[in-house]
């Protein structure tokens, strides 16, 4: 089992390395002169030369990649081209905001998905089951911004309960902050809930079809006990995998939600950076998002190995 996990960790690290190379070369080798793109059509030759020198554009790409990677490992992502500030100092607080939003959404959505998944698997075809599956189809099909604007229209414009913009500033109390992020969190929860819920239900129903479940039921055990004690442990691995995958999606899907609610997170930062073609900032944001995503998938696989008795023994 240790070897299995070690192999998975190695694969994760390799994936990260490849991703970092892809991110670097994608933004670096694609056609178009970075310096000219930065300065626009009015650039003087001297200014272009200065930019090229400061970005080491004359060096071979592989060498620049190694330099960039060494910097990244030391926490140095270079300087933002648009503002001249260090990328790390710009990115870190924004990324912390994004993570806070994602964690809050996860804290609500994971127990909710598990609970509803259990309730619907317990009685398939019931009124609750049909209602939940219809709602799932709808929330899977509609874009995040639809959910977001609908919630704004309902809760902040019509009812006036919550602010429509999730703007944070230093003077806000914890309760005020929580109020500000309520709508974005609900939006995120609705977006990821359906997948987790459906997978929980499907995995449980799959296990409930097994002969040993029939034995347990015929033995006279209550359906609740059978589902919780006999089916759930065996359905744990796929459920955990889907939950981790959706947590990864939370961190990425947050981009659109942040823009809807003007939330000061890394997603909004990245979209702005793309608009301004601020390459060092785009690279850093991309790497942060990709790394979080890979890390969550890695954790999912490892937990799946740990909870699977057959893999645990070998």
């Amino acid at each position: 089992m240790t070897r299995l996990i070690a192999a998975r960790v190695g694969m994760g690290l390799l994936t990260l390395l490849v991703i970092s190379a892809l991110l670097f070369f994608a933004t670096d080798l694609l056609p178009g002169d970075v310096a000219a793109a930065l300065l626009g059509p009015q650039a003087t030759p001297e200014a272009l030369a200065t930019i090229r020198a400061s970005l080491h554009l004359g060096d071979p790409a592989a060498l620049r990649y190694v330099h960039w990677l060494i910097g990244v490992v030391h926490g140095d992502f270079g300087r933002s081209i648009a503002t001249g500030r260090s990328v790390v100092t710009v990115l870190l607080p924004r990324f912390a905001n994004t993570l806070a939003l994602a964690v809050l959404a996860a804290l609500v959505s994971v127990p909710l998905a598990l609970g509803l998944g259990l309730a619907t698997a317990m009685r398939p075809g019931s009124r609750l089951d049909r209602l939940v599956s219809t709602l799932c189809l709808v929330t899977i099909s509609v874009p995040e911004f639809f959910v977001g604007y609908l919630l704004i229209l309902l809760f902040s414009v019509q009812l006036g309960w919550l602010p429509s913009l999730a703007v944070l500033n230093g003077g806000m109390s914890f309760a005020q902050r929580l109020g500000a992020v309520t709508l974005p969190v609900i939006t995120l929860v609705l977006v990821v809930l359906a997948h987790m819920l459906r997978m929980t239900r499907a995995a449980l129903l799959g296990c409930l079809a097994a002969p040993y479940i029939e034995t347990a039921l015929l033995k006279g055990l209550r359906r609740r006990t059978v589902v919780l004690r006999h089916a759930l442990p065996n359905a744990a691995a796929p459920i955990i995998a889907v939950i981790a995958l959706n947590l990864g999606y939370l961190v990425v899907g947050v981009v659109v939600v942040e823009v809807v609610f003007v939330y000061p997170g890394a997603g909004q930062l990245m979209v702005d950076a793309v608009g301004k073609r601020d390459l060092p900032l785009v690279q850093a944001c991309g790497l942060a998002f990709a790394a979080t995503y890979v890390l969550l998938n890695l954790i999912a696989d490892i937990v799946a190995i740990l909870v699977n008795p057959r893999l645990r023994a070998s």
């Binding site: 991703i19 639809f146 229209l153 995503y293």
Partner: protein, 276 residues
């Protein structure tokens, strides 16, 4: 289960037909094709005030610049659907070709390509797209090529899996023993048998790509103004929501309806396929 479903099944075929999503999808596609003839006004024509409420001249009111909302929606259908269809076609062209060859050739080539694609799959599409667009800008060809290539990795996985299940069948072995070439086997033996599952995947992939383009446009990185498209329309009219006006919800609803419609059609198609 069947006891509760039975009455509604008998209650008239047209209701079931309407619920299948097919009429909805057909309507949107028809509107997209005939946009210039159906639309009451010009795509970027200013015809009223800012966010006029719905009235007889403008059934859904006007947008943030005083253009007819319904007209924008109709032209938006055309622009968004065309772009999504082109990107889907590109993704399938590449994904299916590479996936089929990898499955049929097998060996280290298959292993290498699959491993490489696996790594690409571990980067979220939105992040990859943002990276590429930040360098190449967002002209239409770049947008189609980027989305097509990114989604091709997803298509590859499906196409390879489908082809793998066919490659091991006897008739493929028979064709190979007859001495048929690789391309002949792919086109005449594997492709016809893979069409049904791939058709369902194509429709689903189209709805993903369509949603994805809508998201990019919403972020201001997709189709550029003054062309109408549903994602951009949500962004352009977003401010209206603060005045209690539902303006951004019209295009958002259109996006949701098309996605739900396509998904319903695919569900029905798969259910019909599964029946013996």
């Amino acid at each position: 289960m069947s006891a509760t479903r039975q009455p509604s099944m008998e209650r008239g075929g047209w209701l079931r037909f309407a619920a299948s999503g097919a009429p909805l999808v057909a309507l949107i596609l028809a509107v997209a094709v005939f946009a210039p003839w159906v639309a009451p006004y010009g795509e970027a024509q200013f015809v009223g005030g800012v966010w006029d409420p719905p009235n007889l001249a403008h059934w859904l009111g006007t947008d943030n610049l005083g253009r007819d909302m319904l007209t924008r929606l109709i032209f938006g259908a055309r622009n968004t659907v065309t772009l999504a269809a082109l990107a889907t076609a590109l993704a399938f062209g590449i994904g299916v070709t590479v996936g089929f060859f990898a499955a049929a050739i097998g060996g280290w080539i298959d292993a290498l390509v699959s491993r490489a694609i696996e790594i690409l799959l571990s980067i979220p599409v939105l992040i990859s797209a943002l990276m590429v667009l930040s360098v190449l800008g967002n002209s239409l060809p770049v947008l189609i090529a980027t989305i097509g290539l990114l989604e091709a990795t997803r298509v590859y996985t499906i196409a390879r899996a489908v082809a793998r299940s066919i490659v091991v069948r006897e008739f493929v072995a028979a064709a190979r023993l007859r001495g048929e070439g690789l391309v002949w086997v792919l086109l005449r033996e594997i492709l016809p048998n893979a069409l049904a599952p791939l058709a369902a995947e194509a429709a689903l992939r189209f709805s993903f790509i369509f949603l994805f383009i809508a998201s990019l446009s919403f972020l201001g990185l997709g189709i550029q103004p003054p062309a109408a498209d549903w994602g951009s329309m949500v962004r352009e009219n977003a401010q209206a929501i603060n005045f209690g006006l539902p303006a951004p919800l019209y295009p958002a609803t259109a996006i949701a309806l098309l996605t739900i419609g396509v998904n319903r059609v695919v569900d029905r198609y798969l259910a019909a396929e599964a029946r013996p």
